[in-house]
């Protein structure tokens, strides 16, 4: 088993979440859901201090929508006051002003004082479940103007989130998996901007569905029957978040995964992202990752699909 010290760029989810919880105003704790691989890592590795994940961004979704702007302002101002600094970025390294169009506003991406290996990024709960295009919510701080992005199926990530002992929330891994599956009904051609762990050919779809497979393996590792509980929860979340569309969305849940499993090239990319990410400590083989996908289809996705075909 690899330790965080033996593999460079691996960070401890508990340490990062603890830093975030301490750094943000305490009255914002109940408005923050950490999503992404840190949330997955915290959920599955929290009792194993030596387990780490390879990521740079700590994505924090602010909710509910009507409180997101105020929470975003409070958090940004407190972090900047306490020497957090803008992440180095040629294009987005400075705040905007009142003249900056919404879609040109920089996101809040801040590194902790004297640390560059990870940064916090603030996002906002989408305004409408039916509009899944990217939107920017302007926040006006005393340091300048920023934008809180919202897009796609982010509204699933804060469905019944799990409250941590640190006060802030993490997204349910199965909800992040569902959001990622819906985000990629096909294997799109877009590649990861900036590459992934020294590879420039990794497609975003393969990385995101790869994360779904990583969550699947981690979930089965804790409880062999974990996936069996997902379809009921997914159905409930889709009904609540997308009351007019859920019956159309359900048949799309497994499309991207089936496409990925049908292509060894795409599956290999997914494996690469897993072994250099959430599954770095216990990397599976290509076949084992494929089996994880098949189990997800049989235990969860086909059961969900049966809800609309019956």
């Amino acid at each position: 088993m690899a330790s965080s010290k033996s593999i460079s760029e691996l960070i401890s989810p508990r340490e990062v979440l603890s830093n975030i919880a301490k750094a943000v105003p305490s009255d914002c704790h109940d408005k923050i859901v950490v999503i992404g691989s840190l949330a997955v890592g915290y959920h599955y590795f929290q009792d194993q201090s030596e387990m780490a994940v390879r990521t740079k961004d700590a994505d924090c979704l602010l909710f509910p929508r009507n409180a997101a702007a105020q929470a975003g302002i409070s958090i940004t101002e407190k972090l900047l006051k306490n020497k957090w600094h803008f992440r180095e970025d040629d294009k987005w390294g400075q705040p905007g002003d009142s003249q900056t169009p919404d879609n040109k506003l920089p996101a809040v991406r801040l590194n902790p004082p004297s640390r560059a290996e990870w940064f916090i990024e603030l996002l906002a709960e989408p305004e409408s479940s039916s509009d899944r295009a990217q939107h920017w919510m302007r926040i006006e701080t005393k340091y300048g103007h920023f934008g809180l992005p919202s897009f796609g199926f982010l509204s699933l990530a804060n469905y019944k989130p799990i409250r941590t002992d640190l006060g802030i929330y993490i997204a349910r891994p199965e909800m992040m998996a569902l959001a990622n599956l819906l985000e990629h009904p096909t294997i799109g051609p877009d590649r990861m901007s900036g590459g992934f762990a020294n590879r420039l050919d990794i497609k975003r779809s393969n990385k995101d569905i790869g994360r779904v497979l990583a969550i699947t393996r981690l979930a089965i590792g804790l409880d062999g029957d974990a996936l069996l509980a997902w379809p009921e929860f997914w159905y409930e979340a889709l009904q609540k978040r997308f009351p007019d569309e859920y019956q159309l969305l359900i048949p799309q849940v497994g499309q991207g995964l089936r496409a990925l499993l049908g292509s060894e090239q795409n599956l290999e990319q997914a494996l690469y992202t897993c072994t250099n990410g959430l599954l770095a400590s216990r990397p599976p083989t290509l076949k084992q990752l494929y089996i994880a996908g098949e189990r997800l289809l049989v235990d969860a996705i086909e059961q969900l699909e049966a809800e609309v075909t019956q």
Binding site: D225, K287, E294, R295
Partner: protein, 338 residues
């Protein structure tokens, strides 16, 4: 099995062994056509030892007993080499395509099994009768329970003459456990019984409890639990902790068996022919007509004790198998007053 689409009703027969079997299938199809006046009815025969002229003659005679509007919509189609046999008369092209799909689906899911040894099935049935204290059984009942003819039953009984007690009402029973015949059966069982082994390839094997729950949810009425779990149901003191593998007994009286359920049970289970590789699941095939399964209150099907005993020997649990065998023999002697 009957399938129906917008335009056709198809009665599939995997094997057709007698004229009575044919008449039953045609009657079932004709009754379905009474209720669905717009549809064509096809009896799709996938395998039969009966000749085509005989079957066509039987169809002709059967049609004479039907209303004309039903008779003209009733056809027999044969599968041959994975396709529809050439002589399809005036069957519409769309219907032929539908039938070809059904044949292809059947071929995909059908796994062929070795020919059954019905004499061994007679032996197993007689042992089961004895260990269960069920008393005498007639040759006719044995024919029906095993699904074989009189000659097979007679030969099987002749071969174990020393252990058989013949009664005045033409019934038979065992005097004692036929160790010699049992030993012969065990010696060839691995080859003749087509047992299939499955290993986990995920590195995250499901527990046996989980696999059992999944099997229960699949609600398949032709699969029972055997092996250690099945034996412990009869003899809880069996000296083994946990189960080294899950033994499933599949009722497969036909030549082919559908194993699609294995994927639904767990996609991580992969068939292995390496008997030294640890198997997670073993599939055993029960070829007689009466599977002798026992259903418990929650709906789980359990294999009979003799099948469980065979499974233990197959798993090379020699010591536990001998203990279980001794337990069954002692119980039998007590129940049979011997």
């Amino acid at each position: 099995m009957t399938t129906s689409s917008n335009k056709v009703i198809v009665e599939k027969k995997k094997t057709l062994s007698s004229a009575r079997d044919l008449h039953d299938s045609l009657a079932s199809l004709a009754m379905a056509l009474v209720d669905q006046a717009e549809k064509q009815g096809y009896l799709l025969i996938l395998d039969t030892k009966l000749s085509m002229p005989f079957l066509q003659d039987q169809l002709h005679r059967f049609k004479l007993a039907l209303r004309p509007d039903i008779a003209k919509r009733l056809r027999i189609i044969f599968a041959q080499h994975g396709d529809v046999a050439p002589d399809t008369e005036d069957t519409p092209q769309k219907d032929l395509e539908h039938l070809r799909h059904l044949i292809a689906d059947e071929q995909k899911s059908a796994t062929p099994l070795n020919p059954p040894n019905k004499k061994d099935e007679v032996l197993l049935f007689l042992i089961h009768q004895w260990v269960s204290g069920k008393g005498n059984i007639t040759s006719k009942s044995l024919e029906d329970k095993v699904g074989c003819n009189y000659r097979t039953v007679a030969n099987a009984i002749d071969e174990m003459e020393h252990a058989v007690c013949r009664h005045s009402d033409r019934s038979v029973s065992l005097k004692y456990f036929p160790q010699q015949d049992w030993g012969r059966l065990l010696a060839v069982a691995n080859r003749t019984r087509s047992t299939m082994l499955y290993a986990d390839v995920s590195d995250q094997p499901h527990s046996y409890d989980s696999l059992l729950q999944r099997l229960w949810r699949l609600n398949i009425k032709y699969i029972a639990v055997g092996g250690v779990l099945g034996a412990k149901r009869f003899h809880d003191d069996l000296d083994i902790v946990g189960a080294p593998r899950l033994d499933l007994c599949i009722h497969a009286p036909e030549k082919y068996v559908n194993l699609d359920f294995m994927h639904a049970l767990d996609p991580a289970l992969e068939r292995t022919r390496d008997t030294h590789r640890p198997a997670r699941v073993a599939l055993h095939f029960i070829r007689r007509k009466d599977a002798l399964f026992d259903q418990d209150a929650d709906g789980t099907l359990w294999a009979d004790p003799v099948e469980c005993l065979l499974n233990l020997y197959n798993a090379r649990l020699e010591q536990q198998a001998r203990r279980f065998q001794e337990f069954l023999m002692a119980r039998a002697r007590e129940q049979n007053g011997q």
